[in-house]
């Protein structure tokens, strides 16, 4: 198991998490298979393991009853977090909320962004038993959109689409391989659980933005993003709440090398098992967000003898927490004032740190740590709130990551 992915905060078991894991596994296997790292190659289809520590994260005694709600209700109606996330996507891309066929409007402006919205909706709507179907959709749709993200063009067919249903039908038709050799016709439409779910989600988005546009425009004459952020506040507030909760929870309960806490124990067990299962393959540890922080702590302090061929931190606060000196290895004497930089753990052979400047939870690392091979930005092309979770849902991200890896010294 040469790739170990350590998730960040806000991950809780359930169909959405499971579908996300399935999609990420397929992405890693598709885009990182066979890549060379330090003279060693990953297998063509590398094993990927996902230690789950979300169940060990923080809990809220009143189930976040402290979140204010009145203003949000008056502004946003009953829109769920996914609907409002997609609506935010629309606002960000279009500068206004379309009231008619919003996904089609988004697709005509930016096809990859519309696919991002659909993959997010599919993941959020995943149900028990449908995880694989959702994951397959996410991977295929994102892979189909990837060349258009690179070329900043749209597929020609998007211009002829008149409705969200038609857009979803056409997309599904193009990404779903027909049975057998493609010469088989179905005596019906391109229906699937994912397709119907997306259409239902699209209808909710349409309903929500229609209501939003009416309310906000009538009151202000302009759809100010600050009002929109207020509408989004419930999910943003909850996200921040869980983030800080999990951060405090980890640092308070991480234990020591001799007596690791439950989260370190869980993640270390997965890393040790991965190494033991494939000792001759390169070990790649990927940490997203808080997962990167946990990895840095574990690799540097709890497993100093473990050779990590490649550490990839994505949308992570690794350097930020070093600035606060929260790691076991942190040396408070090493600061900007002292003229030095924190030492990257010696057992990390190569380190790629990826951030999106729009992602408010992501941080650069090379101005804090002394050895960062790549400290690069990746544009998720999303907006502030969405960017943090967008990386691993985009085929383009994995493709670019592979290029970064291939550019490392062997």
């Amino acid at each position: 198991m040469p790739i170990v992915f350590v998730h960040g905060v806000n991950n809780r078991e359930g169909p959405e998490y499971d579908a996300g894991v399935l999609a990420q596994r397929q992405f890693f296997q598709t885009y990182l298979g066979g890549v060379k790292i330090g003279g060693k190659s990953l297998p063509a289809v590398p094993a990927v393991t996902f230690p789950y520590w979300g169940g060990l994260g923080t809990t809220f005694a009143w189930d976040m009853a402290s979140l204010p709600t009145d203003e949000m209700q008056s502004l946003g109606g009953a829109a769920d977090p996914t609907t409002s996330t997609v609506a935010a996507h629309l606002l960000d891309a279009l500068g206004k909320l379309p009231t008619d066929e919003p996904l089609t409007a988004l697709a005509k402006k930016s096809f990859p962004l519309a696919v991002d919205a659909l993959t997010r909706m599919a993941l959020a709507a995943a149900e028990k038993g449908k995880e694989a179907e959702v994951a397959a959709f996410v991977v295929k749709a994102s892979a189909y959109a990837e060349p258009f993200a690179t070329s900043k063009t749209n597929p020609e067919w998007v211009a002829t689409v008149d409705s969200d249903s038609e857009f979803i039908n056409e997309l599904l038709e193009r990404i779903e391989a027909a049975p057998a050799d493609g010469r088989v016709q179905s005596l019906g439409s391109i229906t699937s659980w994912v397709g119907d779910t997306l259409k239902a989600g699209g209808q909710k988005v349409k309903d929500a933005v229609t209501g939003m546009a009416g309310t906000a425009l009538d009151r202000a004459g302009d759809f100010a993003s600050t009002k929109f952020l207020a509408w989004k506040r419930d999910s943003l507030n909850a996200t921040l709440g869980r983030f800080f909760g999990d951060v405090f929870h980890y640092f308070n309960g991480r234990g020591t090398m001799g007596n690791p806490g439950p989260i370190p124990l869980t993640v270390l067990a997965a890393i040790d098992a991965a190494k033991a299962a494939a000792p001759d393959e390169p070990l790649v540890i990927v940490g997203h967000s808080m997962g990167g922080v946990i990895c840095m702590d574990l690799i540097g302090h709890y497993r100093p003898q473990l050779e990590v061929d490649l550490f990839v931190s994505v949308g992570s606060q690794v350097a930020h927490f070093e600035e606060i000196k929260l790691y076991h290895l942190s040396d408070k004497a090493v600061t900007a004032a002292s003229g030095g930089k924190a030492k990257t753990p010696a057992n990390v052979r190569r380190w790629i740190n990826i951030f999106d400047p729009v992602d408010i939870f992501s941080y650069a690392a090379s101005r804090v740590f002394d050895r960062v091979d790549v400290d690069g930005s990746y544009d998720t092309k999303t907006y502030v709130i969405k960017a943090h979770t967008a990386y691993f849902e985009q085929a383009d991200f994995y493709k670019r990551l592979r290029k970064r890896i291939e550019g490392l010294p062997q």
């Binding site: 409705s163 088989v184 016709q185 005596l187 439409s189």
Partner: protein, 394 residues
């Protein structure tokens, strides 16, 4: 006019006969393409060619037993107690032509499968079927289908612009089947070669209604003595067909009628396919096609009701057979000899494996020879519609 056979409606016999209506729709101009309406495009339904091949094939099978209509690949409909009476066809291929060539080489112009033509064809068909209680009524629809509050079968002009209720241009099959209680024909066969899924854009419609075309039946009308309703897909699922040939369902139906669904008629020992044996054969034959074409999503749903009623007396019954090895390398060495005197069949080792073919029911000796393995000598009793032999040598 949509009469495929005989040439003249006046020549249609009023004696017990089988009267068929075949609806084959491939052209849906208002659902995709340049004439498509924005609302029609939402369904994601595309033009079909497999249904057009199906319509032609079903019509050819029905008439293949007629003088001058014989074909090498089909024995056709044979029932001396209820011979073929008429075949009505409405047919809309994507290229817009509605001319079919009959097995005798003569062209026949049939009506397009628009709702108006379907309605006219159903009326003519219903009246013929109802003319005698010993008639067999056969309805075959191949085209797009939607199943929500009822099973809807879409005419070629579904969602045509200017029609206030776009659902007017589709058949409410559930209603049609119920309405057919009014028809006097005691044996009624319905083949629904269409999808049975519930697309989102249909489920959000307020009260979609198609046309049942035959109505006014009352519950006190006795149901037909024998009814067979044979769906090409299980409820909620899709039906499929190759673009260059008839649908898989039509292939299975005709295979069953030609003999794979036959048993011996009590008393006469004649090979007979009846409403129940046809239903029993469709499942295994669908599985066979599923395996042959590697289509995991193929299903069917046959519903015979009432008493078993004769449909077809094929020339002979047969069993669809697949013989080979599980191991591909061993398959490549396999030479076959299949024997059931007086039948003797040989298949050389360079032929496709597993071997697939039709064999007469009964006890067969199957000899399998290999270059580098010991031969196998098997005795197999072929009875069911489908028989599979997959044996590997040691």
């Amino acid at each position: 006019m949509s009469l495929y056979w005989p040439d003249d409606a006046a020549a249609v016999s009023t004696e017990p006969r089988l009267h068929a209506l075949v609806v084959a729709v491939g052209d849906y101009p208002y659902l995709s393409g340049p004439k498509a309406t924005p609302e029609g495009k939402k369904f994601g339904l595309k033009p079909l060619t497999t249904t057009i091949h199906t319509g032609a094939r079903i019509a050819a099978w029905l008439t293949a037993g007629l003088p001058g209509f014989a074909r090498d690949d089909l024995n056709g409909y044979r029932n001396t107690g209820c011979p073929l009476g008429s075949v009505e066809v409405v047919y809309s291929p994507p290229d817009g032509t509605s001319v079919l060539t009959r097995p005798d080489g003569t062209p026949v112009a049939v009506g397009p499968a628009t709702m108006a033509d379907i309605k006219a064809a159903v009326t003519a068909w219903f009246n013929r079927c109802s003319a005698h209680p010993d008639n067999i009524a056969l309805f075959y629809f191949a085209g797009h289908g939607i199943s929500t509050t009822a099973q809807f079968l879409l005419a070629s002009d579904f969602y045509a612009p200017g029609v206030l209720d776009p659902w007017e241009n589709c058949i409410d099959f559930t209603g049609l089947r119920q309405g057919m209680r009014k028809c006097k024909a005691k044996t009624q066969l319905f083949f629904v070669d269409a999808c049975r899924e519930r697309p989102f854009d249909a489920t959000v419609q307020v009260n979609p209604k198609g046309q049942s075309l035959v109505g006014g039946a009352v519950w006190s009308d006795p149901p037909p003595a024998a009814t067979g309703t044979y769906y090409a897909a299980a409820e909620g699922l899709k039906a499929y067909g190759p673009a260059d040939g008839p649908t898989y369902f039509a292939t299975a139906v005709l295979d069953a009628l030609e003999g794979a669904g036959a048993g011996r008629e009590k008393g006469t020992r004649k090979w007979l396919v009846d409403t129940f044996s046809l239903a029993g054969a469709l499942g295994p034959l669908t599985e066979y096609l599923k395996d042959e074409h590697q289509l995991s999503s193929l299903t069917c749903s046959p519903h015979p009701e009432g008493n078993p009623a004769p449909i077809n007396y094929p020339v002979r019954g047969y069993v669809r057979v697949k013989v080979g090895c599980k191991d591909a390398a061993k398959n490549s060495q396999l030479a076959l000899q299949l024997t059931r005197l007086p039948d003797d069949f040989t298949s050389a080792k360079d032929e496709p494996r597993p071997w697939r073919g039709k064999l007469a029911p009964g006890d067969w000796r199957i000899q399998m020879k290999f270059d580098s393995f010991d031969p196998l000598d098997l005795s197999e009793t072929l009875i069911d519609p489908v028989h599979v032999v997959l044996e590997d040598p040691v």
